[in-house]
């Protein structure tokens, strides 16, 4: 049962990751990226961490993918459907990817990770809350400040300076 779910999830995740990079239209690419992020959330569910899975769905699928879709809509129509890449670099990139996967995969398969299984009960999500509020509280405050700062920075960066204030006339 778990194996079937795992196989289906890995096909969905890796297939839609390839689709996100290779589909001609950027809008379909963004939808493929949503599939990848949802598939990773499914893996989190399989790993008995439902809190992280729901956080992933809320943050990634809910906000980041929608943000990317809106940015794609701001771009000219011709650019959305144009594929920008060098054919020569493409084969070099595929070779690099295959060499990387084979090398790292061989290292991992040769290490002792193959026999690691667990029968212990999963971590309760209350422990995550304890971690956040006791040991990691400076990091939590720093993260809140970074989020506020980056959102403010994004708004300031994306502001149009040439636009006159007041009602639009066109």
């Amino acid at each position: 049962m778990a194996d079937a779910a795992f196989l289906a999830l890995s096909v969905i995740t890796i297939g839609s990751a390839i689709a996100a990079l290779e589909l001609r239209s950027l809008v379909y690419g963004a939808i493929g990226l949503m599939g990848t992020l949802g598939g990773v959330a499914g893996f989190f569910l399989l790993l008995d961490s439902p809190f992280v899975a729901l956080f992933q769905i809320a943050v990634y699928v809910g906000s980041i993918a929608v943000l990317i879709l809106f940015t794609v809509m701001l771009v000219k129509r011709e650019l959305i459907f144009k594929k920008i890449e060098d054919p020569k670099r493409k084969w070099a990139g595929i070779g690099l990817m295959l060499i990387f996967m084979v090398a790292i995969g061989a290292v991992i398969l040769d290490s002792g990770l193959k026999s690691v299984t667990t029968d212990e009960p999963p971590v309760d999500f209350r422990e995550i809350g304890d971690d956040f509020l006791t040991y990691y509280w400076p990091a939590l405050i720093l993260m809140a400040l970074i989020l506020a700062g980056s959102v403010t920075g994004a708004l300031v960066l994306a502001r149009r300076e040439d636009e006159i204030s007041g009602p639009r006339t066109d």
Binding site: I68, I84, K90, A92, L113, T117, F132, A154
Partner: protein, 101 residues
């Protein structure tokens, strides 16, 4: 449950390879952001998988931090892309030349 750690690590390696391919081949700025997202998700999957098999709550906590920081990074990256698009009317990173010496 027949779950094994090695399966999750191999999926993570595959996602990392796809992300590296996207970063090295594509010149479209938005597609490169997709590739970065895929790489960050591979890292998060590794964190949660190792945290499940140890088992320790630190993996999930770090994964939550990583997801939040990735959200901030995407917001800033997309606004940088919008600014560059406004200046050059293009999203091909080979055209963003004014920083090139």
């Amino acid at each position: 449950m027949g779950l094994e750690l090695i399966n999750f690590v191999i999926v993570s390696v595959a996602l990392l390879g796809i992300g590296i391919y996207g970063l090295s081949v594509k010149r479209n700025a938005i597609r490169m952001l997709f590739a970065i997202e895929i790489i960050i998700n591979a890292a998060n999957l590794n964190l949660v998988a190792f945290g499940r098999f140890i088992p320790h709550s630190g993996g999930q906590t770090l994964a939550l931090f990583s997801i939040s920081i990735a959200a901030a990074e995407v917001a800033v990256g997309l606004s940088l892309i919008i600014v560059a698009y406004r200046m050059y009317q293009n999203i091909d990173i080979a055209d963003f030349r004014s920083l090139k010496g």
